[in-house]
């Protein structure tokens, strides 16, 4: 099961955080700080996996943004990389060639997409089409009563 997912920029600014295990705020901050530091210190050609405390960290950089997941000992690192990739694909399709700014300014949308893709730390729906269909349904139902168009 995925323990948490962090998105942060090359400057170390946190862009998104999703915790699937209950932790105190203090602990979360400490973990975030430590991991951002560790990951940013890694060189580009290095391995995407880290062993950190008793967890495994899988991270990948897309443009200026780092996607970083913590998984348990028996989880598969490579498939976690694909989870990250699928999430990026979803964001890309939703925003239309996504960039960091889309996520900065529409982080709540990014959360909605994530919740439709991963639920409680496990993959819920792998089909790109289905995830976006669910999101659009919710978007539409909301947008219409507000009299706005997307």
């Amino acid at each position: 099961m995925m323990q948490f997912m962090l998105l942060f920029s090359r400057q170390g600014k946190l862009r998104l955080q999703k915790w699937y295990v209950p932790l105190s705020d203090k602990e979360k901050k400490k973990i975030t700080r430590e991991l951002v530091q560790t990951v940013l210190a890694r060189k580009p050609k290095m391995c995407s996996f880290l062993e950190w405390r008793d967890l495994k960290i899988v991270y990948k950089r897309y443009a200026s943004l780092y996607f970083c997941c913590a998984i348990e000992d028996q989880d598969n690192e490579l498939i976690t990389l694909e989870i990250i990739h699928r999430y990026v694909e979803l964001l890309d399709k939703y925003f239309g060639s996504v960039c960091e700014l889309d996520i900065i300014f529409n982080f709540e949308k990014a959360y909605f997409i994530l919740d439709e893709f991963l639920l409680g730390g496990e993959v819920q729906e792998t089909s790109k089409k289905n995830v976006l269909k669910a999101i659009e349904q919710a978007d539409l139902l909301q947008e219409v009563p507000m009299g706005r168009t997307k």
Binding site: K29, M46, F49, N76, L78, L119, G120, Q124, E125, N130
Partner: protein
């Protein structure tokens, strides 16, 4: 108020000049929204301080807005998003949490969605505000709007208060029948969440899980696999019947039968495949029959995953893992090995890393794999990525033996010096210390390595390392002169280290030094005690020394003082520290002062090395019993430990009970939960004895040494070691170069050939030193027998353990299969026994522990029991002839079931087993002659050590033994005074050969049920003053009293006197007649045990065993 924010934001310079932030994307951002403004503002700032100021302003304005009554829900939604942003930046926005809940409750769809999101981001599952969300969730689950239902299910699957699960559970169960698959899928995931946080709450809906597994939509089925993975992990034997279904599903997935929408980059449903592979790995572990079902599909998975894409590698990796987890099949293993090769040799660093990981995992089963990849391993050892390096070291750690230990430990130390992360240091230091202790080639190396460990690991390392090291020095090994040399070298080395100027050592290291100097510096001739004291004194005066270390130093000085002739330093020290502000140091100083003044006393106390004998400590404080009894007789309340008081308060307090009444204690619940556990225990153990290797390594855990290959692993015997060093390494090294030849040439420039070749040579040299002793021919012969190479450093205390560890491997396969029978929990063997002997009354079954019964099967002739009116279970075989020996022959199936070989040589082997007789412990020793020649004049002698007493001793002379026959002797044993354990040793003497052995007996062997009435129990209870209480937390959230009592009755031979509500009374006696009574109470997931006995050791020891039994049950 919100206007003010607007003004503040515009006032900030350059705030809206951030258009250049980005091209097209920026234009998509809501330009003038407050959130956009805030984000721009934050991005524009350069210092952390300014950011803090801005956010604090923002937060205070938000605080005012959200609590203002005029704020509309639409504004509230906007505020929530800003609050989420502030929290993400690390600022506290807890004032808004309640409003997030309100928004989820009151808003329209749009607002509700944000409200739920904010709740799931802000709160955690034990947050008290979460209770307020329950009603909203219940309402939304009943909504006719699909989107609302989805939102409610999403939030439930992320956070939900455990105690409120019953409120929504029926609604969610209904959703499993919903027509939309997205709802069904989310409902299954919500149940998965419930299973994780409160497994007992969803116990009754296991059938619904099965339905979800058979759902027509593959997505719902995939979701149910999450639950199955967890359930199977906990209890693999309970789901073996599903194996075929899982195999079928995987076959269909691999065969591309699923709709295209499940494919990922043209690989069919990789997530589903991986999940299924993991499940199969768990099901097939140690189970040949189940494993056979999956060989085909695994083979196909390997074959199909040929596409060169990350995701196929993910599947391959999982496949390899599964193949190595389940019962082995050589054909598949071969393919898996090839597959690992693909990973290891891949130029992609991620794959290489995983290849190393897989190698680390399988290398214990097949060490020759390391030889195949030795060049790659060596390259990875110098890899620029520290993660790769570390994994390589992990791999080397697994293949360390006495011949390559120096090189490997050196590599580990190199890495250690570079790393700064505490977690890594602790881990690595522990491994180095372990390897050094196990394989050290000589004293100098050992001490130097440990010096490095102490100086780097210092104050972060595990404290056990220090105490192990000191104990090793103190207790010594088998050879006394060797021990002295080691101590002398340690002293010398520490004195040199202390003489170095301007070096600082960790406190722990200094403590080690001071202890060793205090104990052993008398062994040095040239160094006088005065000089050592002077050095210690110098350290004492240093500022960088903690007071704990100072106490160690003063203790060392105290030990040295009687040997010193002049003592002005000691006097100075006394003067200074008797006025120390630290009370502990002051006390030490006063002690030293008194000893110093009384030379006779100090000489008698602290003379030489003979003062490290064990001191017996009465941990149960039984010397206070009289005092306590006096207090109690004067009406004082009996002492209750803190946790018990707390628990009693809890149980008395008015806590809402969300459990339906009477559910958890129903007998159906009890058997339902209990019996699978019993079976799983059985299969685990039987697998273990038959397939030790698989069992040990089947998880990817990197911690701890797996002792699959024995401590020396695949080592050649010591005598042949020297030859190996000169010849063996070259053969495999060449082989590997051949294999890697094209790899190397394509990669490397031909022009650099010359320099390359010297580099290659260096690598080969390194390879030969690293992979010494891994040749397959060494490994084969070691599979079958316990290895004989002894450790250089083996602590005496460990010796017994090691010996008993080895015994299972000495067993022949037949007997180990029977062992598994013995070990297969109560249920399993009860039923088999019952079928074997149907006239057996169920009462005697209940009264007698399973262990006893099984040894009963194996043993005794009726004559043994003839004069006792005991209720020992008489198996059908008990009508067999009268000596145990002949019984062994006539009924070999039973005879070996509990027998254990205690010693043997080429011609004779001695095995023994126990019979728990009602009035004593009966030990049966059977001597077997193995050789073809006749054994004459053999003699068996047993003598108890410590407080055991042999009460019946038959003649022990073996007048003459025929070829390959055995003869048995029975000894009745009693414990004279209660103690935790005792040892019986003995020897067989024949034709000038003496074969010694010893056997440990635990207190448990002498515990018998005490059958008394409830009134007698009450009387006994009041008459005893020795009280031991203990609360054991169980893994199950609800413990059934009946299962606890059965457990205690069967495993510890306690008699259940009475059961009152959720409390049980038990009684037992320690042979010959020391009673102990036990009160047991079950509350939620805790079992509170209260022992009383006339003997404190007895209650202590029983309490300890109870804990063990509970924890393993």
């Amino acid at each position: 108020m919100s206007d003010m924010v607007e003004r503040t934001l515009t006032a900030l310079p350059g705030l809206f000049l951030q258009n250049q932030l980005g091209g097209p994307a920026a234009s998509r951002a809501p330009f003038f929204s407050r959130l956009g403004g805030l984000i721009r503002g934050v991005t524009a700032l350069s210092s952390k301080h300014e950011e803090e100021k801005l956010i604090q302003q923002e937060l205070s304005s938000l605080k005012a807005t959200v609590s203002a009554p005029t704020t509309t829900l639409k504004m509230m939604k906007e505020c929530m998003v800003r609050l989420i942003y502030c929290e993400m930046l690390g600022y506290d926005a807890s004032f808004g949490y309640i409003h997030a809940i309100k928004l989820a409750q009151q808003g329209n769809l749009l607002e509700k969605r944000v409200g739920y999101l904010a709740v799931s981001l802000f709160l955690h599952e034990s947050h008290e505000l979460l209770l307020l969300l329950v009603n909203t969730v219940v309402k939304d689950l009943q909504s006719t709007n699909l989107v609302e239902v989805c939102m409610a299910l999403t939030v439930v699957s992320q956070i939900f208060p455990r105690e409120m699960i019953p409120a929504v559970l029926p609604l969610i169960e209904d959703k499993l029948q919903h027509s939309k698959e997205i709802i069904r899928r989310k409902a299954v995931l919500a149940l998965y969440k419930f299973y994780l946080i409160a497994p007992n709450q969803v116990q009754h809906i296991h059938t619904k899980f099965r339905k979800a597994l058979c759902d027509r939509d593959a997505g719902v089925m995939a979701a149910s696999l999450h639950i199955y993975l967890r359930m199977i992990k906990e209890n693999p034997s309970g789901y073996k019947d599903l194996t075929e279904s899982f195999v079928t599903i995987l076959k269909q997935v691999v065969g591309g039968k699923l709709p295209v929408e499940f494919s990922y980059h043209s690989v069919p449903a990789p997530w589903l495949q991986i999940q299924l592979l993991r499940i199969l790995g768990l099901l097939g572990k140690d189970d040949q029959r189940t494993s056979e079902l999956m060989y085909d599909v695994l083979d196909e998975s390997l074959r199909r995953a040929e596409l060169n894409h990350n995701v196929t590698y993910a599947i391959l990796f999982e496949c390899v893992h599964t193949i190595y987890s389940i019962y082995p099949k050589s054909e598949l293993l071969e393919k898996a090995v090839k597959c690992i090769g693909k990973f290891v040799l891949s130029p992609k660093i991620n794959l290489k890393y995983l290849g190393l990981k897989a190698l680390t995992y399988v290398i214990q089963q097949d060490p020759s794999l390391a030889l195949q990849h030795q060049i790659t391993i060596i390259e990875c050892l110098d890899h620029p990525d520290p993660i790769i390096k570390r994994e390589t070291l992990e791999l080397l750690y697994r293949i360390t033996n006495a011949q390559n230990v120096i090189v490997i430990v050196q590599k580990m130390l190199d890495y250690l010096h570079q790393s700064k992360e505490e977690y890594i240091i602790i881990n690595l230091v522990g491994k180095i210390a372990e390897l050094a202790e196990k394989y050290a080639p000589d004293n100098v190396w050992f001490i130097q390595t440990m010096n490095a460990v102490f100086s780097v690991g210092g104050d972060v390392m595990h404290p056990d390392i220090l105490s192990n090291f000191l104990r090793l020095l103190a207790e010594g090994f088998d050879d006394e002169t060797e021990d002295q040399q080691l101590r002398v070298y340690a002293v010398q080395s520490y004195l040199t280290l202390l003489d170095m100027e301007n070096t600082f050592y960790p406190q722990r290291f200094l403590q080690v030094m001071s202890w060793v100097l205090g104990e052993y510096s008398y062994l040095l001739d040239k160094e006088s005690p005065e000089e050592v004291i002077a050095r210690l004194y110098k350290l004492l005066k240093s500022d960088s020394i903690s007071s704990e270390t100072k106490a160690w130093l003063i203790a060392a000085v105290t030990k040295l003082t009687p040997q010193a002739h002049s003592s002005h330093v000691v006097e100075k020290l006394i003067q200074e520290f008797t006025v120390s502000l630290n009370t502990c140091l002051r006390q030490h100083a006063f002690e030293l002062k008194h000893l110093h003044e009384n030379v006779e006393l100090s000489k008698s106390l602290l003379q030489g090395a003979q003062n490290c004998e064990d001191i017996v400590v009465d941990a149960s404080l039984s010397f206070l019993d009289g005092f306590v009894a006096e207090g109690l007789s004067q009406g004082a309340a009996p002492y209750k430990p803190h946790h018990q008081r707390q628990e009693e308060q809890l149980s008395q307090g008015k806590v809402l009970n969300f459990e339906p009444y009477g559910l958890s204690f129903s007998s159906s619940g009890f058997t339902g939960r209990q019996s699978p556990a019993g079976i799983s225990l059985g299969s685990d153990i039987s697998g273990n004895s038959a397939e030790t290797g698989l069992k040990e390594t089947s998880s990817l855990k990197l911690e701890g040494v797996k002792k699959l290959w024995g401590k020396e692993g695949y080592l050649p015997k010591k005598e042949s070691g020297a030859d190996d060093k000169t010849e063996m390494p070259h053969v495999p090294a060449e082989g590997a170069t051949m294999e890697n030849a094209d790899h190397a040439t394509t990669r490397k420039d031909q022009a650099q050939g010359l320099t390359q070749s010297t580099e290659e040579k260096e690598k080969q040299l390194l390879a030969s030193s690293l992979f010494v002793g891994l040749e397959p021919e060494n490994t084969i012969n070691l599979l079958g027998k316990a290895d004989v190479v002894s450790h250089k450093f083996r602590r005496k205390s460990k010796f017994k353990v090691a010996q008993s560890d080895k015994t299972p491997s000495v067993h022949n396969p037949a007997s180990s299969a029977l062992d598994s029978d013995v070990a297969r929990g109560d249920d399993g063997c009860l039923s088999t026994l019952e079928t074997r002997d149907s006239e057996l009354s169920s009462e005697s079954l209940a009264e007698l522990p399973s262990v006893e019964k099984l040894s009963g099967v194996s043993s005794p002739a009726p004559s043994l029991f003839a004069d006792n009116n005991m209720e020992v279970f008489h198996p059908p075989s008990s009508s067999a002839p009268s000596t145990a020996a002949s019984l062994l022959e006539e009924d070999p199936e039973c005879g070996h079931s509990c027998a254990m070989e205690v010693c043997s040589n080429d011609s004779v082997s001695v095995s023994s087993y126990k019979i728990w007789k009602d009035d004593c412990l009966l030990m049966i020793w059977s001597v077997t002659s193995k050789t073809g020649s006749e054994l004459t004049d053999a003699k068996l002698e047993i003598f108890p050590v410590e407080n055991l007493k042999v009460i019946e001793q038959p003649g022990c002379l073996l007048p003459g033994m025929e070829t390959e026959s055995s003869k048995s002797f029975q000894y009745g044993v009693q414990m004279e005074s209660p103690s935790v354990e005792g040892t019986l040793s003995g020897f067989v003497n024949y034709q000038m050969v003496k074969l010694e052995f010893s056997m440990n007996l635990s207190l448990l062997d002498f515990i018998r049920p005490l059958k008394i009435s409830t009134e007698d129990f009450g009387k006994l209870w009041l008459s005893f003053a020795n009280d031991v209480k203990q609360t054991i937390k169980m893994s199950e959230p609800r413990v059934a009293l009946t299962s606890v009592l059965t457990e205690l009755q069967q495993k510890l031979r306690l008699h259940v006197v009475d059961v009152v509500g959720n409390e049980g009374l038990l009684a037992c006696k320690l042979l010959p007649s020391t009673p102990c009574v036990l009160h047991c109470r079950v509350h939620a997931d805790e079992v509170a045990l209260w022992f009383r006995s006339s003997c404190s050791v007895l209650s202590d020891c029983l309490s300890c065993h109870c804990q063990k039994v509970m924890e393993t049950s």
